[in-house]
Symmetry: C2
Amino acid sequence: MSNFNIVKDGGITTPCGFLASGVTAGLKKSGNRDVALIVSKSSANCAGAFTTSLFPAAPVVLAKKNLENNTQFRAVIINSGVANACTGEQGYKDAKKMAVLTASALNITPEEVFVSSTGRIGTHLPMEIIENGINMAVKALSTDGGADAATAIMTTDTVPKEVCISLELDGKTVHIGGITKGAGMINPLMSVPHATMLAYITTDAAVDQKYLSILLQEEVAGSFNRITVDGDMSTNDTVILMANGKAKNTPITSESKDAQKFREALRYVMQYLAKAIVHDAEGATKFVTVKIKNAKLAKDAELCADAIANSLLCKTAWFGGDPNWGRVLAAAGYARASFNPKKVDLFYDDKPVVINGEDAGTPECELEEVLKKDNFTLTLNLNDGNFAYEMWTNDISYEYVKINAEYHT
Amino acid sequence: MSNFNIVKDGGITTPCGFLASGVTAGLKKSGNRDVALIVSKSSANCAGAFTTSLFPAAPVVLAKKNLENNTQFRAVIINSGVANACTGEQGYKDAKKMAVLTASALNITPEEVFVSSTGRIGTHLPMEIIENGINMAVKALSTDGGADAATAIMTTDTVPKEVCISLELDGKTVHIGGITKGAGMINPLMSVPHATMLAYITTDAAVDQKYLSILLQEEVAGSFNRITVDGDMSTNDTVILMANGKAKNTPITSESKDAQKFREALRYVMQYLAKAIVHDAEGATKFVTVKIKNAKLAKDAELCADAIANSLLCKTAWFGGDPNWGRVLAAAGYARASFNPKKVDLFYDDKPVVINGEDAGTPECELEEVLKKDNFTLTLNLNDGNFAYEMWTNDISYEYVKINAEYHT
């Protein structure tokens, strides 16, 4: 039983004091929405997590710099279609220009604006189109614009991804909403708090700035860092969390009696969004949970989960509905983890597949039943300690190859 | 100009004193050859390199143990179709039985026999079929059986892979022949001398045992460890090098004046076989050389090469003939290597793609010309030091997914 409720059809504008919009500026050949804007009516405490790539996109560099000097923000401007990554000095100037244009139209300062971009790497932003898009987005701002924003940040995504929950904190109703995008170039860098896609989370809860920042880092490690689509980390990964305090609850700190309650609600939102990316993974037909249990060290559990979740042979076997457990053990075997191969058990959902490193004798047809499902769990029990780790991933299909062999835009 | 000649249609039985055969025992549904035997008429100095998987197959465990006690061997018995991996105590007994049966038929000791298996993981060997196969293989031994052996070790391979070269060492003609198999579950564990497939190399050169072992380890790092098909390391990877001294040259040691000459010839054979695996990679349409230049540390070059060569987004872009260099830089960016992203240059063959981390301005159509080729080189110059590393890899196609989603045998 959880301490929060899901708000049906809710999103980032459900929390009080948030506006959003999503418009078509003309960056995508498809003519789909491509500029999104999220605005808090008053200053919001903010925290961010970003890609650890050595080639961070210009807007990521700008956002990290702004967060070093300032934790109070009012807006996020996002474009899809062009990533503004590997674009040098001009790219950085363009990202700053997006902040200036947005701030000017909203009558705030550029330092209060986050900028994000997603799309093709290495291409410069067409700034006239961007400028026009920003002006349109400002005009379109509304308290029910969250869904449009969720649509405008999409690239190879097939569905917009949004969620909202509500909970009570000392008698006040508090909301947490979120949107995310991402379907490919998705892989966590394990154990390092960072994000692997774009996600924006709004809340009207009052949260102490320092605690907000700690919460985000810790919960990114338990959500967005746990997913992988194709093993490729992006140059643009960004998670932004904005808390504007409009719910007027007593500000939450690490000492608050409600701290855990709020954390669990935030975790639900972040895990929901992270899993939504995997559900919409490029060409995927299956959602696979990879659980590692009873590892000697946390690292061993993480290495095994990462190897299996990223194994191309496992992912294609899942696509084919093939219970081929040798590929799962082979992946654990090269994960550079430490464990005793003779003590390993493997389960597909509740069916034993391997016991003590050997065939458990479950009939192949029973295992095939599990593999046929569009959502199943693979549990590897190392029987070697107390550490566990879980990741969420997907199969690799013909469609994945098609999308990525033909995605020239 | 090289110091050796390629022997047309040569293979592992071209060197003096070697016999081989490849027969159909009935392990494969296809009815193709599935048991191979390689025999030296006299004791041969031997060296081996094996998978570093935590789940080494039973024959790998046996071969490593035999090599600890003994360096003089007479034969290698190999079956395809069943990997004899993750098969517990029974699997180990079966591997030993294969050595005993082979030794008995050849009138040698089981300790003089290497055993190898390749195929499905987790299945026990049908020992009656194996026993029959071994007897057939012994009867079929001949001095021109190398090609049959090359065929019998194949699994998803589409062509047998063999090579032979000859060279002069103090007036004596010496041969080095080799066969290999492998088309999927191929990935090096970098910087650790080990193998990633099956390869058997025979030579009639006389080579000091200690030097033979050093040579093999070092040259595996420069050949089989440099290839990746799908990033999945196998449980059965094995390279065996047999030197029977029949050419009667002065035994080569690390001090010999001809040591470097022999090493270069051996390197050619091993690189030829390693590249042959990539040329025959499952579903591949392109052979891609990934070169990293001027890295600060050797590790930085290796990490970048490994990330690019294994990036699913790069591999699918290559399949699509898409010059999308953002994916190459993104892969280098998450490789956990150290370099300055603003100093990086990238070339497709001789075409500049990226200069100082930004678009070099070469017209897209010129880059597409390179990507259309079935063999091209991608060079990433980090401009940060003096270390280089090179890997050989392939694209990932619809056919790769098909083979691995449907490979149940």
